[in-house]
Amino acid sequence: MKTNTIVVCFTINGEKKELQIPAAISALELIRDVLELKGTKEGCGIGECGACTIVVDGKAVNACLMFAAQLDGCEVMTVEGLSPAEGLHPIQQAFVDRHAVQCGFCTPGILMSTQALLMETPHPDRQQIINAVAGNLCRCTGYQSILGAVEDAAAGGLKGKSRQKTF
């Protein structure tokens, strides 16, 4: 069967890409199957779990609900783009310190929701944090450690200076 293809140009984690891809694949398929970036997860595939959350032009979106073609011309960030060449990003470090990661399946998505939140609102209150991660299901942690980790990350600023431990 002939597959209709299109060319998309976008930046992902700082790197420019120009790719010919099937016209109707999702952004999630593009990221996982074509670019082989496996940090972005597929849970439900229909926008309900948030495991596939990525940041597009500064906003958190569900990669499973977006066509890859819609990324054309956009700036995309996945969890792979969060960490520096070595070590962890301050948000990631806060999640580790707070034991906010158990099985870890939800973690990349929550990190991306957090990244988008802190880019928009560097000092969120608890309700803003809850709103930002309400679309990310976690079956393990019970959320409290996640909310605490986001608070810590925000308190340290995105550069991750003094983080207070409150447990």
């Binding site: 109707a24 309900e48 569900n62 609900l65 977006m66 929701s113 679309g135």
Partner: protein
């Protein structure tokens, strides 16, 4: 793999040219939050996806001469953040606050929400209380469609395949109206599709009697509706507990008259009445 072509027209004229030639084989794509889910469920069989999400004609929010225009491509997150909408159509803003999750709100559009014609579309009851009309364009011209007439059944849109909604025209909230609310009941708090939703705005005279009221119900009937009988019943009366319960009873009866007694009525009948009373109690 689904085999579809993806087309992104440069402007509205380009989109209409394409629809003139391929309308019946085309699905319009805005935020994609319904299109993707339908595609995955095997419910979509068109040959072309026409991406209208970047057309600048679709993105304005503007109040002028007692009318508020909201472009079809305005996202739910943009509705939530808009001061103009908060001032002139606060129920719409409340609906945006309770809508899905942040990542969905960031891309889902009001045009897609209305065009998808789900009985549970959260933006529809707020649009109805503002007598909203959709601005619809087609290769021949332009027409206005009452949002209440957009669907003739669940998920069934009355627009032709060569038509696009460019925006909505709402009557702004009258200045003297102080009471505005949108309420929904879902299975859970976040990411819940409404099982019952209601939008209301009302104004009380100095003697407390109701001088102006608009009320719409979503999710309970095949398409969301204004309930004008309830509005007429309450107009001119001074609300007390008894009157509000009576109106809630009427609402549940009117809903049952439309849907018949389905199994879900056992839950919905008292829940509608309860939610209505909880919302209207503010007027007592």
């Amino acid at each position: 793999m689904v085999d579809m072509d993806y087309i992104r027209p440069q402007d509205l004229a380009g989109a209409l040219d394409f629809l003139a030639a391929h309308g019946p084989d085309t699905t319009l794509l805005a935020g994609g939050t319904d299109v993707m889910v339908d595609l995955r469920a095997g419910k979509l069989h068109s040959r072309y996806l026409l991406d209208i999400s970047r057309l600048s004609e679709f993105r304005k929010i503007e109040a002028c001469n007692g009318e508020l225009t909201v472009g079809a491509g305005v996202t739910i997150a943009e509705i939530y953040a808009s001061k103009t909408i908060a001032r002139h159509a606060p129920a719409l803003q409340k609906a945006a606050a309770a809508f899905a999750s942040r990542p969905v709100r960031n891309v889902a559009t009001i045009g897609g929400n209305v065009a998808h014609c789900s009985p549970c579309g959260d933006t529809i009851p707020p649009l109805l209380i503002h007598d909203a009309r959709a601005v619809v364009v087609n290769p021949q011209g332009r027409r206005l469609v009452d949002v209440e007439q957009m669907a003739d059944g669940p998920y069934h849109c009355t627009l032709r395949p060569d038509e696009i909604i460019t925006g909505f025209i709402l009557k702004v909230k009258p200045d003297e109206v102080e009471f505005v609310d949108f309420q929904k009941i879902g299975r859970r708090k976040a990411l819940a599709i409404a099982r019952i939703s209601m939008a209301v705005m009302a104004q009380q005279q100095p003697d407390k009697s109701i001088g102006f009221i608009r009320f719409a119900l979503g999710s309970c009937t095949p398409t969301p509706h204004r309930f004008r009988q309830i509005e007429e019943f309450l107009l001119g009366k001074v609300p007390d507990e008894n009157l509000v319960w009576q109106a809630g009873r009427m609402l549940a009866d009117d809903m049952l008259a439309i849907t018949g007694r389905r199994p879900s009525a056992l839950y919905k009948e008292p829940a509608i009445q309860g939610l209505f009373v909880r919302m209207m109690v503010a007027l007592i």
